[in-house]
Symmetry: C2
Subunit: 146 residues, 2 copies
DNA sequence: AGAATTTATTTCAAGTATAAAATATCTGCA
DNA sequence: TGCAGATATTTTATACTTGAAATAAATTCT
């Protein structure tokens, strides 16, 4: 007789939260110390690095799963640092396209290398098979992919 | 020849972030609509419900893995709502013990029931074996348990 | 064309979060 | 005893986050 399903699910959720917070705390500190930057900024740069032609504000907030207003502020600060630029979209004067500047692309490349290393350490306990298992399971959690 | 280990680990991390944000968005909204409350407040109540004798501020922030100053603010608001109370610890005048009020315990009980239901829906795709797998894997992620 | 609606983004108010500085208290030890 | 250092918490400054309201521009429907 095993534990009821709802309790098991709750347990998974709580454990996931805990692991996540712990890893994020490490990342946050590392980003701050090595790059004087933050996790949200890294996330925005990362999305823009993946979409080199740029993204609209709304696409950015959808990809990051955060509110529109939130992205406005982060992009503003990144623009202030010269890492991203906002350009008008022609054909739609409501929209703004955000993309990496050359400086931003270069900066992100350094951060991404370090970031991959930190994650690699945090998840060093897992071998390839286990990682595949995790991917398969996590892909079925929540709705669609990243 | 499979993908290199560091990339696989990164993939797991990104997928976990994505799933988490999606689920949290749902929980946040549900908590707001049904209880006019928030996730951080729920987390604090949850910890206090588990430790009925109360917790010190520092124990609370350690369990929740958030900063001390953060907990100060959330507890302040919960105290304003009459859901928690702060009492002096005798033998140490620096410390504060926080615990649920009867109203807080009652309120939390309602919230917890609903919360379990929401999580149960969000993770409805998984059966018992898969949940056990997830637990085992997640327990090895980051450092120690919750 | 002109009004109503929808879409894209920003602004706003309130709450959440961190790191660092400030307080207050406690503990260990010369 | 008295003080140096450690501990518990709050305060402060700044950043992040949300949901809702406000703008502004595009689209739809007569």
């Amino acid at each position: 007789m095993s534990r009821p399903l709802p309790k098991q699910r709750l347990r998974v959720w709580l454990r996931m939260l805990s692991a996540q917070r712990e890893i994020e705390t490490g990342l946050r500190e590392a980003l701050r110390l090595k790059f004087d930057s933050t996790l949200p900024r890294f996330d925005v740069l990362s999305a823009l690095d993946r979409y080199r032609d740029g993204l609209r504000m709304s696409e950015l907030s959808a990809k990051l799963k955060v509110s529109n207003g939130n992205v406005t502020g982060i992009v503003e600060r990144l623009a202030g640092e010269g890492l991203v630029e906002r350009v008008a979209v022609d054909g739609d004067r409501r929209a703004m396209l955000v993309r990496l500047t050359p400086a931003g692309a270069e900066r992100f490349a350094e951060m991404a290398t370090a970031h991959e290393g930190w994650i690699n350490e945090q998840l060093s306990a897992f071998d390839s098979d286990e990682l595949e298992q995790l991917i398969r399971l996590l892909e079925r959690m929540g709705g669609e992919n990243a």
